[in-house]
Amino acid sequence: MSSPLLRFLARRLLHTAVVLLGVLVVVFALLQLVPGDPVRVALGTRYTQESYDALREASGLDRPLPVQFLAYLGNALTGDLGVSFRSGEPVTLILLDRLPATVSLGLTGITVALLITFPLGTWAALRRGSAADGGIRAVSQFGVSVPDFWLGLLLIIVFSTVLGLLPPSGYVPFTEDPWGWLQRVVLPGLAVGVVSGSILTRYVRSAVLDVVGSDYVRTARSKGLPRRTVVGRHVLRNALVPILTVAGVQAATMLGGLIVIEVVFAWPGLGRLVFDAVAARDYPVVQGAVLLIALVFLLINLLVDILYAVVDPRIRAS
């Protein structure tokens, strides 16, 4: 590897760390603005002034905000994200418990999106103006327009209720029962993947169109190279940079979609955890989960940047 690439990596890692710190500050600040007193909610029926004061003190909520933040930051760096107000379990354990379900769903969604995106987008672009192009554009427009939760419910109604092909909900770990896992991940995976995939398909199509019209592709064609080589080596590779940008954003956006999809499919992942934790004002869990999601988001972006640099060496220098 060349040293410009290493320098580039170092710079990007530093950048990621700074952004992560910024996320921490923002999440912390936003939670202060959320209405509803977490101590009061946590106490529920056991609310008395004494128990209120005691819990406030025990959870450190009586200390000045900067002190609370520094304490949180210090603990977070050592992997201690506090304990849940609801269950008293360490947040780190809760997150680790939920992570596999979300990762397996997210990867399925990305796979679905990619399976849709590249073949359809390229195909449509290469047959621009044909019936196939029109059909693909219409379908992707539909995919872009439907809300993911609605698509999820639709999939449940069609594939579970009407056709009886797949179970409507639930989760089993891949390691325990791969077949059971696959049956259950298909519908939520489709729901997440189709929306992202539809958006991406449109980008792939236009990126490929741009490249197809460029001089070097015309040159390659005029040299009499086989079509497959032209598309594979010249078109797709050059179309990849703009597609990567959007794909990175889409993969991250998909994380947001997971929250809703996990609720719809009763999928025990991070999304549903955030949903429940927000409702219960379980701040440590919300904070921890948002931090983890932000981390994943940043890692995806980092990965995209690295891929850029690999695909197009000019980017390293800039």
């Binding site: 509803g36 529920g44 609310y47 008395t48 419910l153 449940i156 409507p168 639930g170 009763a266």
Partner: protein, 512 residues
């Protein structure tokens, strides 16, 4: 305290899970996998329990499970009258200050240890000494004594006819086992005397119960129960129709009608013991005038309110107590009458005013209902300004009396005293509307200590009529308990108190 109780009761019933901070246990991921749950009853509940300690949790999702794991000394039947459970019989002393319970013999906890009077003493002392969620229910209790191994005496400071409802009304008053509590296992692996025992607790996906072979009562007739957490009603119903689960109460109100037409699903609804109401601040004009309040009571279209908020799955009611309760009293003086309402509004100076209506987005049905109330009041020349607040602020504003009108509900009432005393006695802890009637005070005080059931009901009937006439609360409706199950599930009955019991159910052969 009682306001806290309402916060929690409301929140939990609507799916928010609340609980405290206590040292946590790890998550037992392996548990559920080790049991062969092939023939088990599979049920879908709308949310995840926060923890399974019956004395600490206030989450309805926890109690849906704990109902089948724990017993109380007495328990309500379908009409919510108290029947023997762990106590076979009881008697009250002449002066009404001492209750003696004779405990069932030969009962064991799930871990095999014997159930004795000491367990009762330990359980109640724990609730009182640690001031746990239900300590207020035992406020009148002076002492709990183990007379012998199978006899317990509860001494109270004044005659307390509602004591049975207080100790048996729900599983928050369950008899727990000392070792299980002291080890901390009670939070995830509770040990009770009930028809089922917890065997697997895969947090975030399911809780598994196995039939208790040594259960003291009839049943259970299924080998176990698996509780799955499915908050999205459409998904839960798809699971039900696909045969993935046998029972669910995760049902969107707008789906109830179409479900009833589905021959493959059994649906039942009964009015719950919850009630929703509108009240007006009597410390402020114009609602210091009884006529102004009655104008509002006369203007409301309760049927429309029930339809809009629950798609008809609610029973309109002008008093608090639902018709399924032995304490029900038929009294409904306020059918919508806009002419009469306009007259009252005119004479009381309400006409032409703008009044505030405080609701909370934590309970979306109040926000929806507010639209109907505003439309109704507009018809009698009163403008309504709807204030939608978060619940903590809402409670603050209520406590400070900073409102004209508000809408909310009370959940999980059993004894008739729960329905009226704190809300309408001039010393009541939840009388935020500032209602004060010497006659109602007298009736409610007498009702608390009257031990003859018929005389007691008479007292509350009169109090209720007065409260309704004075429009201290304008009662709206009791939401229905709506539950659906597969036809192969036999012997299940929905209950007005939302207790979900599976000890009597069977799964028909060859199905499910």
């Amino acid at each position: 305290m009682a306001r806290g109780a309402r916060t929690a009761a409301l929140a939990s019933a609507l799916g928010l899970v609340l609980a405290g901070c206590s040292a946590g246990e790890g998550v037992d991921l392996a548990g559920a996998g080790e049991v062969d749950t092939e023939d088990y009853l599979e049920v879908a509940i709308a949310g995840e329990p926060d923890q399974l300690d019956p004395h600490s949790t206030s989450a309805y999702f926890s109690f849906q499970i704990l109902e089948n794991v724990y017993d109380t000394l007495v328990e309500p039947d379908a009409e919510l009258e108290m029947q023997p459970a762990l106590a076979e019989s009881w008697e009250v002393s002449e002066d009404q200050l001492s209750w003696t319970f004779h405990l069932r013999e030969g009962v064991t906890f799930h871990d095999g240890s014997a159930f004795t009077a000491e367990d009762v003493v330990y359980s109640y002392d724990r609730i009182i000494d640690e001031q746990l969620a239900n300590a207020y229910r035992l406020a009148a209790v002076e002492d709990v004594v183990a007379v012998d191994e199978h006899t317990v005496r509860i001494d109270v400071s004044q005659p307390t006819p509602a004591l049975l409802a207080a100790i048996g009304g729900y599983k928050g008053m369950a008899i727990v086992e000392r070792g299980n509590v002291e080890s901390g296992d009670v939070q995830l692996d509770p040990v009770g005397t009930g028809p089922f025992e917890v065997v697997g607790n895969a947090a975030s996906t399911a809780v598994t119960l196995r039939a208790n072979e040594d259960y003291w009562g009839e049943g259970p007739h299924v080998p176990g129960v698996v509780y799955r957490f499915i908050s999205e009603g459409t998904t839960a119903l798809a699971d039900l129709t696909a045969g993935e689960v046998h029972w669910t109460d995760s049902i969107p109100p707008q789906r109830v009608e179409s479900l009833r037409r589905n021959p493959d699903v059994e649906v039942a609804s009964v009015p719950s013991t919850d009630y929703w109401y509108l009240t007006m601040n009597q410390a402020r004009p114009p609602f210091d005038s009884r006529d102004a309040r009655r104008a509002v009571a006369q203007a409301l279209d309760r049927e429309a309110l029930a339809q809009v908020t629950w798609y008809g799955s609610a029973t309109v009611n002008q008093t608090a107590v639902p018709e399924t309760s032995v304490w029900y009293h038929e009294y409904a003086p306020f059918e919508q009458d806009l002419d009469r309402a306009r007259e009252l509004a005119e004479s009381s100076g309400l006409t032409g005013r703008t009044v505030g209506l405080m609701v909370t987005n934590e309970h979306p049905e109040t926000v929806t209902a507010a639209q109907v109330v505003a439309a109704n009041l507009a018809e009698i020349g009163v403008a309504t300004e709807i204030r939608t607040l978060d619940f903590a602020t809402w409670l603050d504003e209520q406590a400070r009396g900073n409102f004209d009108m508000l809408l909310l509900g009370w959940l999980g009432n059993v004894d008739v005293n729960d329905y009226y005393y704190n809300q309408h006695h001039s010393e009541g802890s939840n009388n935020a509307q500032g209602y004060s009637s010497p006659e109602v005070d007298r009736l409610l005080d007498a009702g608390r200590t009257e031990t003859d059931p018929e005389a007691r009901k008479e007292l509350y009937d009169r109090a209720a009529e007065r409260i309704v006439d004075d429009a201290s609360y304008v009662y709206l409706y009791n939401p229905d308990v709506v539950q659906a199950w597969a036809p192969e599930l036999e012997g299940y009955e929905p209950r007005p108190d939302r207790a979900v019991r599976f000890k009597d159910v069977r799964l028909e052969e060859g199905t499910g």
